[in-house]
Homo-oligomer: 199 residues x 2
């Protein structure tokens, strides 16, 4: 029988990451022990330490995976053609869809930065800055083209990111509204926020 090399190990690592995201989102990084995590996954602590020598290694792995996935999702979603209005619409849509599907992971990424060592924190903040720069470029492009009213590109980018990321704080699918309905309303609010002429 053909067997993918390392597939057991990959499955174990994936199970560890899933359990870690859920436990850390619920109890906080400081409160979750490697022992508790191993018990949750159903492996010996030694197995955990083989993949993640320290708890911080695991946290850093979760955070880089999250940020890399976010960047990759935008690279895929970004329209090849279109003006700033089309780009901004795609950015908001992708951002909401990405985060609604990864609520726990988003909480971990937003709340546990304080637990990273300085170098690793810098790496995560650099990934985040690169992603946010994409939004700033769209806003600048729209303002330069006379499509948007933007008093301050940096403030507007932060306002939009906080507004759309905030969806995960209160939104639960299957309630009053679908993800698509929520996204549509946020799209309209964002277009008004930047004074889009052609939305």
């Amino acid at each position: 029988m053909a067997r993918t090399a390392g597939s057991d190990g990959e499955r174990t690592q994936a199970a560890i990451r899933d359990a870690a995201v859920n436990l850390i989102a619920r109890y906080g990084y400081e409160a979750v022990s490697m022992r508790q995590l191993a018990a949750e996954v159903g492996v010996q602590p030694a197995a955990l330490y083989r993949y993640f020598p320290t708890k911080e290694d695991l946290l850093y792995d979760l955070m880089t995976a999250h940020m890399n996935a976010l960047v990759a999702s935008w690279e895929t979603a970004r329209p090849a053609t279109g003006d700033a209005t089309a780009l901004l619409a795609a950015f908001v849509r992708n951002h909401i869809n990405f985060h609604v599907e990864r609520r726990h992971s988003t909480h971990v990424n937003n709340m546990e930065l304080r637990s990273l060592s300085r170098d690793r924190l810098s790496t995560i903040l650099r990934l985040r800055a690169g992603y946010e720069k994409e939004l700033r470029q769209i806003l600048r492009q729209g303002a330069d083209a006379g499509l948007f009213t933007v008093e301050d590109v940096t403030l507007t980018a932060m306002a939009i990111i906080q507004m759309v990321t905030g969806v995960i704080v209160w939104f639960r699918p299957d309630e009053r509204l679908s993800v698509a309905e929520v996204t549509d309303t946020y799209h309209k609010m964002t277009m008004r926020l930047v004074g889009a002429r052609n939305a």
Copy 2:
């Protein structure tokens, strides 16, 4: 000499609250011990337990104080007269000023809800819902008067609250912009977001 009864105790309690907000904002509630907190304030652990029998009592005290102060600040700031546009402007201004001055306390209130017992969580969420209801009423009043374009009052209220609370994540006074400049820009963005006709 006249001496305010209990003033030593009040000063100690205030020092405990200050130290607790700073330590919890920095390390997280789970990671901060009552022993560490007592050392930070310079009192014996027994003194701490006299005022706050459990760590959760202390957390709950901090959170209710924060929410009550927020509600009180809005009661003071709310204009006695004026249409929905004037009310919304005052709401955004007060919200930003309140939170910029209490960044650590805001982080504790947003991040440590998971550590409250069910009844206490309900109380905090009820205070929060009451405050947010004020914003929803302003939005509804503006929409009914034909002053605002609002697709969904609940979504719009959440979007505005996330957007303006997000200021504390990145804003540091003394940097590029003053609090007044930031507030002015957020005021303009909010007015556009709701399509205010008379802003």
